[in-house]
Symmetry: C2
Subunit: 219 residues, 2 copies
DNA sequence: GATAGTGGATAGTGACACTCTCCGTTATAG
DNA sequence: CTATAACGGAGAGTGTCACTATCCACTATC
């Protein structure tokens, strides 16, 4: 398969494929002549992964590059925890502005309290940790008076724990097919995110339409 | 308060404030002379809302414009369901490409089945509906073989329903302070989103580190 | 009355994700 | 064995976006 066919099957314009090649998101094909290369199923799969992360998850090209590099670095036999390294690359590391260390300290202690209460076996380098800090700081900043202690945050922790339990079943075996597991791990994280947010909005509508009816029915 | 002071208190550069004024995100101050205007607390609050939607929720300027317009159109006395109109503006309407109607039809029927099973009182115009369709289509497209019937999606629905129940408590009274309720509704939707996603990643790490230990401990 | 600051208009900037054009080379149809 | 189409690769160009900088005549304030 050469470029035109790769473009046709993937639905990605050749100019864009060339761009991804330049950015090293996509490995080059096997060159049969100075200006001829063969692409295979692997390129098709990689292209589909890139488009999913780009269009659906909204990641930038450079972030996708980091995620793909982390995925490529995975070796069968690595502990399953390595699966999370690629996921960690999906978010930016935390940079604390000089004048806001207090806010971050408070957020850190709130999160630590929450994680202790939930008895989660995670640490400050785990994927999601920095994002959680950022979110809690934003909550303090933009919804002043919003408490972010475990009493308030625990429902969120419990809700996502039940999700994690179904997403990673008891018989989950990362050793079975490491490449497929890795792909599923990254895509699952990225593709289910917008679904969760969308369903939450729908749940809000249902809740407003049904439960507090008594409050406004009498007006 | 004039522009320099508004900038100092909000932490937003004057050039950016002027830009928001041009884009009509921020109403002009009360003009006391051809080149003098007074700004108040309302401008400070609005600016904080804009920054939250921009920086934390990552919404575009034009989307923020639509959300703010919807918020401004809210009138005390409107049914609480109007609270969701501003939230609906946070997402793009669904545009179905000509050649993919089948995928969308399948996604629609899967979602309908799920909503029926959950007995949610929502419809196709509710905020989140189009996003959910988009997500399910992406799941089919990028994780072929992924089933999206209620058996798979129900845990997500149940998880966000418990969230909605704590986010909108039984004694929730939208008539109490409509402006504050509206602000809280929009900001709550936007600011808790990244927190949910971050906690989900942490839950995955915990799950991988604890439960399926038996699977890889023997290697 | 000097100087700093103001609101408003216009133009410029840098990042981003492509997209276009060109080139010499290679496949392939007639 | 041509003629033509397609190829891979390099570089420059494009459109959008969210600001940011520069001017300007005018106003506040010391």
């Amino acid at each position: 398969m050469r470029m035109a066919e790769l473009s046709r099957q993937s639905g990605v314009p050749t100019a864009t494929i060339k761009y991804y090649l330049r950015e090293r998101l996509l490995p080059g094909g096997e060159t049969t002549a100075p200006n001829q290369a063969q692409y295979g199923r692997e390129h098709l799969d990689r292209l589909s992964l890139i488009r999913a992360l780009r269009e659906t998850a909204g990641l930038s090209i450079s972030t996708i590059g980091r995620v793909l590099t982390a995925m490529d670095d995975y070796r069968p036999g690595d502990s399953p925890e390595h699966l999370t390294i690629a996921v960690a690359e999906m978010s930016e590391p935390l940079a604390i502005p000089d004048d806001e260390t207090d806010d971050y300290e408070r957020a850190r202690s709130d999160l630590r309290e929450l994680l202790d209460e939930l008895e989660w076996n995670v640490d400050t380098t785990s994927p999601g940790y920095d994002d959680a800090i950022r979110s809690i700081v934003a909550l303090h900043r933009y919804l002043p008076g919003m408490v972010t202690n475990p009493r308030r945050l625990r429902p969120y922790g419990e809700a996502v724990r039940t999700l994690a339990n179904t997403e990673i079943p008891d018989d989950y075996d990362p050793a079975a097919d490491p490449a497929a597991t890795l792909r599923f791990s990254v895509l699952g994280t990225a593709l289910f995110e917008p679904l969760i947010l969308a369903l939450r909005k729908l749940a809000h509508v249902d809740r407003i339409r049904t439960t507090p009816a008594a409050t406004w029915a009498k007006r």
